[in-house]
Amino acid sequence: MNNLSINILDQELQELWDTTTTLLTDGWLEAQTLHTQLRILYTVIFTPGTIGDKINQFKNYDIDNKKQQLIDNVYKNLSTEARTNLLVIEGFILMLFAYIAGKKLTDNELIPPFVLEEIKQEISSYTFISHLPIYEKEADSLYEHLNNIHNLLREIYYLHEFRIAESWKQYPVGQYRILEMHQAQILNSKQAFKVGLNTPEDQSICFYGQSWILELMNQNFKIGLKVAENPDAQYAGDYPIDVYYELNRQIDYITMPQEQRDKIKTSFLNSIHQIQNIMDTCLIDTLPTIKKFDY
């Protein structure tokens, strides 16, 4: 870490690592049921904000005064730099994941081969042909909303088919597995939805992604967008979520707080609506073509 976090004193970091070690190993955590331990740790890992906000979460559980004080001390003594520094936060998160792996709180052995399989999946290009030029504003917005749908479909698919997720959104800890930090980062970066080399004046725009996710996107677009492949779509772009029968069923099937479920559905419909707007502006009236790309 040395030169990357020059402003962070060794002493304050040492205090943070010591406190975290105490919190994880002095017995109170182990006394909880496996599911409670996981819930506590995921709550800490995924709490928004600084390292202070994350470590403070431990205080909501039954810890003694001495540990309360340790947390308060760390919180008080950490500089802003240390509390917000990405590498410090990631180091802290890795400590918690190492505890999860060490205590065998989840069946971690299956995960690396799964990730390796998934990152090797075939890549395709994803090309929209337009009758009017796609300028920067539309291109940016198109990417943003396609990316949102891409990530959403991918997340739902993994939760539904494999009960695996990259981040924890209150799914029951015994039923859904959360990927370890590096595994999650690798999977996420390898499966990213990418922009191709486009010029604004081109009468087409291309993106890249894993073929199976692009297929899933087109299956949904065929239902909800005004395209030649969907002759009945007179109100396309504004359908309710029910018409995306399979997706809706999957979202309803996954155990998560209702609020989270509603958020996913609203976000999906909003992106569909925005994509339809761009297609109307640039006169795109066919589904994007998926073509295998030997990456």
Partner: protein, 305 residues
């Protein structure tokens, strides 16, 4: 479905046009002009018709001009206005470009291009993190990313021109010195080396992380160090509109070497100014200024697996 096969009359017409361009219009001109014309035809926006509109205002002997006019009167000529066929036309002369490039010893041959692009697949990818003292809003992040992507793209283009004498886009430089690489290879190079937003999986609010290739990030480091330095020595808003390269000499020198015609030089300079302007207000807020930092991305761990 017969209209969609390459046997159909419209595809034949496009091939006929391409053949005429190569065998009658261009063959007797210098290699330099041939490349310039093909690059321009390829990069001109829009349909085949818009490319022909450019062609007919070039210095062309009347007899050959009338051949172009005739082709435009052909019963199938409305296919020139079909946006779906632009890329077919572009591909139809790809081979001519490669053939000419292969004949010029100062340019990279197609095989060399291939080897070079494949080697870039293994270039080190680093994460690049910006730290803030306040949580950033969604719109702010979007705007910051947009300008950072622009700056990365400019520096990326300059880096490959300077280091490998290759590029994906013709912008007025000496076509006998720098190689415009073949489209699919260009696409590949872009995918291997582009900047990417790193997804925030852990609800971090005080940092933004991107991933990109190390040599380009190193050059960005220099630009940000210069930006901070200039800021620290000036109480006013950094005025880079008159001569941006006074503050960022590295980028300026790389650009000067290309000896571009003013129109292209100014276009790149304006893009550079726009990107720097877009970033500077975000990069420094109040008196707090911090360099972004580079660190190993998880993707590099794959090489160890």
């Amino acid at each position: 479905m017969e209209n969609n096969t390459t046997e159909s009359p419209k595809y034949k017409l496009i091939e006929q046009l391409c053949q005429f361009l190569q065998q009658e219009l261009l063959i007797k001109r210098s290699k330099e002009t041939q490349l310039e014309w093909w690059y321009t035809l390829k990069q001109l926006p829009g349909t085949i018709q818009s490319k022909l509109d450019w062609l007919v205002i070039q210095p062309i002997p009347p007899r050959k001009l009338s051949t172009i006019m005739d082709l435009q009167q052909h019963p199938e000529s409305n296919c020139f206005k079909d946006p779906d066929l632009s890329s077919y036309f572009n591909q139809s002369f790809n081979q001519h470009i490669i053939t000419i490039q292969n004949q010029i010893p100062t340019l990279k041959s197609y095989t060399t291009q291939q080897t070079l692009v494949e080697s870039q697949k293994h270039i080190t990818i680093n994460n690049y993190t910006f730290q803030y003292d306040y949580p950033k809003g969604k719109e702010e992040k979007k705007d910051f990313s947009k300008h950072l992507h622009k700056l990365y793209k400019l520096v990326h283009t300059q880096y490959y021109l300077a280091e490998q004498q290759i590029t994906d886009h013709y912008c007025g430089f000496d076509p006998l010195k720098y190689t415009v690489i073949e489209s699919e290879l260009a696409q590949r190079l872009h995918l291997y080396t582009q900047i990417q937003n790193v997804e925030n999986l852990y609800n971090l609010q005080y940092s933004l992380t991107y991933s990109g290739i190390e040599p380009v990030l190193n050059q960005l480091d220099k630009i940000f160090a210069q930006l901070l330095n200039a800021k620290n020595h000036s109480t006013q808003k950094l005025d880079i509109t008159l001569d941006p390269y006074e503050y960022f000499p590295g980028f300026g020198e790389q650009l000067a070497v290309l000896q571009l015609p003013p129109i292209h030089y100014n276009k790149i300079t304006n893009q550079f100014i726009e990107a720097i302007h877009g970033l500077e207000s975000y990069f420094i807020r109040g008196s707090i200024s911090r360099m972004p930092y580079q660190h190993k991305s998880a993707e590099n761990n794959l090489k160890d697996l």
